[in-house]
């Protein structure tokens, strides 16, 4: 499997630990994302946003979380054969994981390039396919990890801190 990381220099070990460390989250939310279900795609992210509003998370941080999670959720619906989103909420951050069942990303570096897209006609009909989703996730998250390979599942996960 190929791994892609985007972490501010100097923070690597601390943040990688946040991705892997086995501390139980304070609140966990799971949401399944069916393939090409554009009527419901986005509901998972909006549920997370509502939950974070209840916690009183700052509105600008909330917006970044909403944008990143919406893009990742749409990607699972648009480009994979379905998967799920798991939101792990701690008192200082959120860690959201998107795991799908394939078909995977052959070249992650290329997928990260703004404007690169393999969206099919159906996906474009719904207004997606500008190739800006992944770059947007990177821009709005504090740390991003993607793990994938052609013919395999994809994992996209990111961290966003509340302050």
């Amino acid at each position: 499997m190929a791994d892609y990381w985007n972490i501010a220099p100097g923070m690597e070990s601390a943040l990688k630990e946040c991705f892997t460390r086995d501390v139980e989250a304070d609140v966990t939310l799971e949401f399944s994302i069916p393939e090409k279900d554009f009527n419901n795609a986005g509901k998972g992210s909006s549920e997370v946003k509502n939950l974070l509003k209840r916690l009183g998370v700052d509105s600008e941080v909330l917006r970044r979380i909403a944008v990143a999670s919406y893009e990742a959720e749409i990607n699972v619906a648009a480009h994979s054969i379905g998967g799920k989103m798991t939101s792990l909420i701690y008192d200082d951050r959120i860690h959201i994981k998107f795991e799908d069942k394939g078909p995977g990303i052959a070249d992650i570096k290329q997928a990260m390039v703004p404007g690169f897209s393999t969206a099919d006609d159906l996906v474009r009909e719904f207004g997606f396919g500008a190739g800006l989703g992944l770059p947007n996730i990177e821009k709005n998250s504090d740390a991003l990890h993607i793990s994938s390979e052609a013919g395999h599942p994809t994992l996209v996960e990111f961290l966003i801190f509340f302050t």
Binding site: V27, N50, V67, Y70, D91
Partner: protein, 424 residues
């Protein structure tokens, strides 16, 4: 939470309430609970959308508008009519006749929201162009939408159109004009609104935001409708010369209003119905609708024609108004005075404060604690969202339990399961 008590123009008649929970299920802000078989409304959460008034089959939730005879306390009585009013009559009744009927209810002068629609459109465009850094600008005319933003989308408060609504502008304008022309003091002039909704009645009694000018009362279209119909029968044989403003009636239709604001450098979107409004606001919040410069938001179906105190179906009313717009010709009104006041900043309104209802606790650690407890209760509850407990969903009941407003015994499904287990 806040210490302010918010006024709402709805009343629950305890004797009529059967505790059926129909209202609980339609409230967009989850403001209603039924406890001990009676409904009650949380004034901090209610946005005056009127959904519950429409949903109640037992006339237990009633709008409180003012009794018509309060107009007699004033020497000179003025009515300002909502533009949706003219869609409420069958097509054999003319716009002018409906307007004359209001006059003959006992007013000395009748004005309409529609008089200033053209002026409003110009002002909105100007405001958008002067505030390009805030995208999109959100209409502030519907008090229910404004309240929705205060309670659920406070981050969007700066995007509101920070200028007065037509009825507020007219109130000020007429008061000045009449006191000069008739040589009357403010206290002798009574200005009243004929309104399609609870939200407007609330705005009259608790003016804030785009409704900063105080009126002396609000009458609902539904309440005066019977009387108006009777008068119309009379005036149809005896018509007076009356000015009408059909082109201005667009104000009642959110879609047409957006089309009017839309132009080469301004892209406008129209949204109506409270569920759609929530959905769109959530997307605006995430900057997914930044391609729009202006969003017309109305809590009711099709705009104010769908107001809960109107009598006609919103689609029929809309079609009638569209016909009037197409066929009629508006009297021109001179808006120079208004334009001057606008440029002097006289219509600007102060930013509204949030009325947040979402936060579980000011402190995030405590909020998380509460949320964990909510989730624990949630796993015990059956997940049917049946509302039989009096809370709108199982989640809401779990939250009510954690906030000390209910107990797990309120869940009737669990209660039944337990009593069955006891029997076995």
């Amino acid at each position: 939470m806040s210490d302010v008590t918010y006024f709402h123009a709805i009343q629950i008649l305890q004797d009529n309430c059967t505790g059926c929970t129909a209202c609980v299920r339609v409230c967009p802000t989850e403001a209603i609970r039924v406890r001990d078989r009676k409904a009650s409304i949380d004034p901090n959460r209610c946005i005056d959308c009127g959904n519950c008034v429409t949903a109640c089959q037992f006339h237990a939730i009633i709008p409180s508008s003012d009794p018509l005879d309060i107009i007699h306390k004033f020497k000179y009585k003025v009515a300002i009519i909502s533009s949706s009013f003219f869609g409420q009559f069958t097509e054999d009744i003319s716009y002018a006749a409906a307007k004359q009927a209001i006059l003959e209810l006992g007013f000395d002068e009748v004005a309409e929201e529609a008089m200033v629609t053209g002026f409003m459109i110009g002002m909105i465009r100007d405001y958008i162009r002067a505030n390009r850094e805030k995208r999109p600008i959100l209409s502030s005319n519907c008090p229910a939408v404004v309240r929705m933003i205060q309670v659920k989308f406070p981050a969007l408060l700066p995007n509101l159109f920070h200028q007065e609504a037509p009825m507020s502008i007219l109130t000020r304008y007429l008061r000045e004009k009449i006191s000069e022309q008739q040589e009357l003091s403010d206290r002798e002039i009574g200005i009243f609104l004929i309104v399609p909704c609870v939200a407007h009645v609330t705005a009259v009694h608790q003016p804030e935001g785009a409704y900063k000018h105080l009126q002396d009362g609000a009458f609902s279209t539904g309440m005066i409708y019977g009387k108006v119909r009777e008068i119309i029968k009379r005036v149809q044989n005896n018509p007076k010369e009356i000015d009408t403003y059909p082109q201005g009636l667009t104000w009642a239709l959110s879609g047409v209003q957006a089309e009017l604001v839309d132009c080469e450098d301004i892209r406008a979107l129209s949204v109506n119905g409270v569920e759609n409004v929530m959905d769109i606001l959530s997307r605006v919040e995430d900057h997914y609708l930044d391609q729009y410069d202006y969003v017309v938001l109305r809590s009711c179906t099709n705009g104010c024609v769908g107001g809960c105190l109107n009598v006609e179906n919103p689609f029929v009313a809309m079609s009638r108004i569209k016909k009037m717009i197409k066929e009629g010709e508006s009297k021109d009104i001179n808006v120079d005075d208004l334009a001057e006041l606008y440029h002097e900043g006289e219509f600007a309104v102060v930013p509204l404060a949030p009325r947040p209802i979402m936060e579980l606790d000011k402190d995030i650690k405590n909020a998380i604690k509460k949320m964990k407890q909510i989730n624990e209760f949630l796993t015990m509850l059956p997940g049917l969202n049946c509302s039989a407990c009096g809370s709108p969903t199982c989640y809401a009941l779990a939250e009510d339990i954690v906030l000390g407003k209910a107990t797990i015994d309120d869940c009737v499904v669990l209660l039944k399961r337990h009593s069955k287990e006891d029997e076995d």
